[in-house]
């Protein structure tokens, strides 16, 4: 185990970005409707280990650049085994002369993603995006990024965006066991380049700290200077635990959620996540146009109100 992998307290030296910022508690403003549906070409498609694939798509030049935490809907050309497009987090944005290249880390788990896995270089995919609200990376504080499994990919994208703001991150990465730390080598390489610090945890102790990312967080957090901000992506039970941790410690915490989706654009109302009691009360009182397309006090839509939510916004008892 390398020194870098060990949970290690930070020694300061952080340069929090001097960006005018909304308060951490305020949700980011509604994303402007800028999505498009465009045909993309597969430029790279390879195995990423731990049962995952890495996919790169060349987009037309005019395609709006997604931010970290945003997603797109990938639609296979007919004949496809599935009807609806599949939501996928953007894990990489690379500018190129011909147009941006988008990268995705995904697991072939069902009919749609297995069909995706069969694509060859130069095959076509329809991409709808960028969709949703990404991580509010303007929120001040030492960035603590917490990834579970394939959640690592959008958070690496976030880490790179933070680096451009001159902010280095603490990157916590957990999985069942060493074999499930997907794309670990690449994660380490990219974090090294950015000067981010990688901390690992596995449930069985085969790599990094023996335990969950939450235990890792408990160890590291006391050594980080305030203010801190958490951005997390991974399985819902993990996110629920992190959300509770953030609420308990009054650390602004943002979680990238998932839901089964149809449209991805807010029209079908098919991707509800239960709002927290406090949020429900706040929205029930509101009279002016609400920050949500439909102002539903009971449910937020994952696709347009999220997929990234502040910890206080959702009802973790019903989600964890």
């Amino acid at each position: 185990m390398s020194r870098r992998e060990r949970a290690r307290p930070a020694r300061g030296g952080y340069r929090p970005a001097r960006i005018p910022v909304a308060t951490a508690a305020a949700p980011p403003a509604l994303a402007k409707t800028a999505w498009r549906q465009a045909e993309a070409r597969v430029t790279l498609h390879r195995d990423a280990g731990a049962g995952h694939r890495w996919l790169e798509l060349a987009m037309p030049r005019a395609f709006p650049l997604p931010g970290a935490g945003q997603f797109v809907q990938l639609l296979l050309e007919a004949p496809a085994p599935v009807l609806l497009p599949r939501p996928m987090s953007v894990a990489l944005v690379r500018r190129a002369a011909a147009g941006p290249v988008l990268g995705f880390l995904y697991a072939p788990v069902g009919d749609g993603t297995r069909a995706l896995a069969a694509l060859d270089v130069d095959d076509r995919v329809l991409v709808l995006g960028p969709l949703g609200r990404g991580f509010p990376l303007e929120v001040e504080g030492v960035p603590v990024l917490i990834a579970g499994g394939r959640g690592v990919a959008p958070l690496l994208f976030a880490a790179e965006t933070l680096e451009r703001q001159g902010r280095r991150c603490e990157f916590l990465f957990g999985a069942r066991d060493a074999a499930h730390l997907v794309a670990l080598a690449e994660t380490r390489r990219r974090l090294d380049r950015m000067g981010g610090r990688l901390h690992l945890a596995t449930d069985d102790g085969s790599r990094g700290v023996h335990g969950t990312v939450l235990e890792l967080l408990d160890r590291i957090a006391p050594h980080l200077p305030a203010p801190r901000v958490i951005h997390a992506c991974g399985p819902h039970p993990m996110l629920a635990a992190i959300a509770r941790w953030g609420l308990r410690h009054s650390v602004p915490t943002f979680l990238a959620m998932e839901s089964i989706m149809a449209c991805g654009t807010g029209v079908c109302r098919g991707c509800p996540l239960p709002r927290s009691e406090s949020e429900r009360r706040r929205l029930s009182r509101a009279r002016a146009p609400l920050p949500s397309l439909y102002g539903n006090p009971e449910f937020a839509m994952c696709c347009t109100d999220g997929p990234v939510f502040a910890a206080h916004a959702l009802d973790w008892e019903r989600l964890g």
């Binding site: 498009r36 549906q37 839901s259 089964i260 654009t265 029209v267 991707c271």
Partner: protein, 318 residues
């Protein structure tokens, strides 16, 4: 060289530049897709069903994809009458498109109150009454599946607006033709056939429904042949225009519905897959007609062999 065919149709007092509408609940309140598809180019935009009070909708999961289709259990989530009037209607008017507002109620009285409030609002060319939601406990498809109830309700609504009044029916009934006739006798200008079909999907891992409720409404290509047959049945039963809905994904599908006598069609689930789907249906339909040398959509309507459509007046009125 073929000319662009004349696609204009009439639904009661409403003249549409073409017979393609967006289906309720699949195009939001009209402005969400406006940056990729100019709604002015469509026959009309039908908005998400609005009810007197806002509705939060059903608990998750609300969507389950099935072979060639999708089940939904949205439960009529909508902003309610007040917000619709205050926030959505001004945006709809700003689109300068033809707008049909979809209304939903648990009782005839509720529908009357909605229409009293909206019936005279400028910028609404018609109302589609949703008599067919499969996903609500009260006031859904089962409650409205009585010809007399539909007739009495429409007779009560008719005086409340001069805009087009359209009745949207569920396919999950014993005799859709009777219900359609009830609507016609009550004074409806048109009938929409059909809403989603009640369906189920089970997660065999957990032994549970894949939706939050046991059942949902099935839409998409999977229902097209079923919807087409219901549409055909309704066309033969009434002499008012019929709007076809169910699995229409492209111009060919639309022409099938019009061939059995539908005056217009609605594009639903297709918009989730390709937000420009409704506009593409218009373009394809025009091209296909032009290729066949057909200059007016009216000449295509009801072109199915007369033997298959015996009712002489069926769907022939413009």
């Amino acid at each position: 060289m073929s000319r662009t065919p004349d696609l204009a149709v009439r639904i009661g007092p409403l003249r549409l530049k073409n017979p393609v509408l967006t289906a309720s609940g699949t195009f939001g309140y009209g402005d969400e897709y406006a940056h990729v598809l100019d709604p002015k180019g469509l026959g009309a935009v039908i908005t998400k069903t609005v009810t007197l009070k806002p509705r939060a909708g059903n608990p998750p999961a609300r969507i389950a994809e099935t072979a060639g289709g999708m089940l939904n259990s949205i439960g009529l989530e909508n902003v309610g009458l007040e917000r619709f009037r205050r926030e959505k209607l001004p945006k709809l008017r700003a689109l300068s498109a033809t707008v049909v507002a979809s209304l939903g109620g648990e009782t005839p009285r509720e529908l009357a109150r909605l229409l009293e409030a909206l019936g005279g609002e400028p910028g609404i060319g018609g109302f589609e009454i949703n008599f067919s939601c499969p996903n609500v406990a009260r006031g859904g498809a089962i409650y409205w599946a009585h010809a007399r109830r539909l007739e009495r309700t429409l007779a009560m609504l008719r005086p409340l607006t001069r805009a087009a009044l359209i009745a949207k029916l569920s396919p999950d009934v014993t005799a859709i033709a009777e219900l359609a006739r009830g609507c016609e006798q009550g004074g409806a200008d048109a009938v929409t056939a059909v809403n989603t079909f009640v369906g189920m999907a089970v997660d065999i891992g957990g032994g549970r429904s894949r939706l939050g409720r046991a059942t949902g409404g099935l839409s998409g290509p999977a229902i097209k042949p079923l919807a087409l047959a219901r549409c055909h049945e309704v066309v033969r039963a009434v002499s008012i225009p019929v709007l076809g809905s169910g699995g229409i994904m492209n111009g060919r599908d639309a022409l099938e519905f019009i061939a059995v006598g539908a005056t217009a069609v609605q594009v639903g689930t297709a918009s989730f897959i390709r937000p420009r789907a409704a506009a593409q249906v218009v373009e394809e339909m025009a091209r296909l007609l032009a290729e066949r040398g057909i200059r007016r959509i009216e000449a295509w309507r009801g072109c199915l062999e007369p033997a298959a459509s015996p009712a002489p007046a069926a769907g022939r009125r413009a």
